[in-house]
């Protein structure tokens, strides 16, 4: 097994995950556009495989770790120091695999053996990161502030963090009271509301399996955001975005409540403030909240120095 580390590469290695190529494609588009505007290079991990999300862990723990192990092993070959996983489930799967391999000798043994059998190198200590904290730490609020070219004229937005990115690992943000997304948005001039339900689960895949239960969880989130006066909800997870976005028509019918909130990715909001175009940011892919998006996002780009 070769232990020679390949030469270090600048920029970030990017792990899209299955969702960002399908229902979450707007997340990929806006992430790439945002990084392009920030002049940071982003390279997709070649031949990545599915992370297994919660499904694999529910059936076969060893297989679940192995899926992530292959990804981490492939990542090692590239020479990047950081692996960016925007989807919360992918982020958690990769991080958990690294954690368990480190802490549980039985897991480590199993993984190393299986990797060897597949002709793959052992796991590296590549850092698994989430774009939220990469933007917060590596880019920083100041740098974002400097690059703003558009001034937000809309109302406040509600930042929704969801579960698996902020729990149980606390590197992305503080589990009980995350604020980094709010801070990023405020840095580019977008006000946020105090959204108390920002870490309450959207139900994940439950909207697809036990629909009524899943629907209600999303209804609660949408209602609270509207009650707080938010004009949109900003998310970091493609499944949260989908759940909140796709069922608003049904919620309007069953709860008899006029809800039509756009559900945005934080990369879309930041990208827009930094001058990204509507389509390049995937904003045309929104299901709900069309009127709002048309109003605030397609105004002619104003080139203004943000003071």
């Amino acid at each position: 097994m070769s232990h020679d580390a390949p030469p270090r590469r600048r920029g970030y290695l990017y792990f899209p995950g299955c969702s960002l190529k399908a229902t979450g494609v707007a997340y990929e588009e806006s992430l790439q556009e945002l990084f392009r505007l920030l002049e940071i290079s982003l390279e997709e991990l070649e031949d990545w495989n599915c992370c297994g999300a919660t499904a694999y862990m529910s059936i076969d723990e060893g297989a679940a770790f192995l899926l992530s192990a292959r990804n981490l092993s492939l990542a090692r070959r590239t020479g990047f120091r950081d692996l960016l996983a925007p989807c919360s489930a992918c982020y958690l799967a990769l991080k958990k695999t690294q954690d368990y391999v480190q802490r549980h000798p039985t897991v480590r043994e199993e993984i190393t053996g299986s990797l060897r059998r597949a002709g793959l190198e052992e796991l590296d200590s590549i850092r698994v990161r989430h774009p939220l904290e990469v933007l917060y730490h590596d880019v920083g609020l100041e740098r974002l502030r400097e690059r703003v070219v558009r001034r937000w004229r809309g109302g406040p937005l509600a930042c929704y963090y969801g579960c698996q990115a902020v729990r149980p690992y606390d590197e992305v943000d503080v589990p009980y009271n995350p604020t980094r997304m709010d801070e990023l948005l405020e840095a580019v001039g977008v006000p946020t509301v105090d959204f108390a339900l920002k870490t309450k689960c959207c139900g994940g895949s439950l909207t697809g399996t036990i629909h009524e239960v899943g629907l209600r969880l999303n209804y609660i989130l949408l209602k609270e955001a509207a009650r707080k006066g938010a004009e949109a909800i900003v998310t970091i997870c493609p499944l949260c975005q989908f759940n909140l976005d796709a069922y608003q028509a049904e919620i309007r019918r069953s709860a008899r409540e006029p809800v039509d909130l756009p559900i945005l990715y934080f990369t879309q909001v930041l990208g827009w403030a930094l001058g990204g175009e509507f389509k390049a940011l995937g904003l045309h892919r929104a299901i709900s909240g069309g009127p709002f998006l048309k109003r605030w996002f397609t105004a002619r780009a104003e080139v203004e120095t943000y003071v």
Binding site: C50, A63, Y100, G119, L217, A249, E250, I287
Partner: protein, 193 residues
């Protein structure tokens, strides 16, 4: 009314304390015996109000070895793995991991209702990734709906149409190029004890 009256006694012959001890050895489940039954997990779980046994009760059942009760519960399937319980627990019991172990055991022993969507979805997901290395959301949902309740496809029609309209529905069947690597890796996996 009389037919509703049932005797509900729990005998020790139903309990399997060894199972509890074995479970406690799995990675992530180490602290189930430290649980003080405070109920914070159930109080903070967004799905506990829908469950037949709250998360706290599941830990209590597991500790006492009431395997069948724990594995046949709705709880383990309603768990969304949001980790609220694990983060709040004052004894650092990783309840979410316990739920995963119970899911795996239930699937192994086929202890869930036929056509129950959640294990079916998990299994379809599992198969798809095992064969192709990636999952294709459209095909996954389709297969799951057909295997559990085809009528649900009607309900999914509207969101499905919206996804098509916005270009978020991909009909491509994703696949990894070097699938043999995965195959060899997964060839001999077993439950990590």
């Amino acid at each position: 009314m009389l037919e509703l009256i049932r005797r509900k006694m729990k005998f020790q012959r139903e309990a399997d304390p060894n199972w509890a001890v074995e479970l406690g050895k799995r990675p992530g489940c180490e602290r189930i015996f430290a649980c003080i039954q405070c109920g914070t997990c159930s109080g903070t779980c967004p799905l506990s109000i829908y469950m037949d046994f709250t998360p706290r009760k599941i830990i209590a059942l597991v500790r006492e070895g009431f395997r069948n009760d724990a594995l046949s519960s709705q709880t383990i399937w309603l768990c969304a793995s949001c980790y609220s319980c694990a983060v709040h627990c004052p004894q650092n019991v990783r309840i979410t991991e316990v739920m995963y172990v119970l899911k795996r055991e239930a699937i192994k022993h086929h202890l869930y209702p036929k056509r129950f969507p959640i294990p079916v979805l998990a299994q379809e997901f599992y198969e798809m990734v095992r064969r192709r290395g990636r999952n294709s959301e459209f095909w996954l949902v389709l297969r799951m709906a057909l295997k559990t309740s085809p009528l649900s496809l009607l309900r999914l029609a509207r969101p499905g149409w919206e996804l098509i309209r916005t270009g978020r529905l991909s009909l491509r069947r994703e696949r990894v190029r070097r699938g043999f690597e995965l195959e060899r890796e997964l060839a001999s996996t077993r439950e990590v004890i």
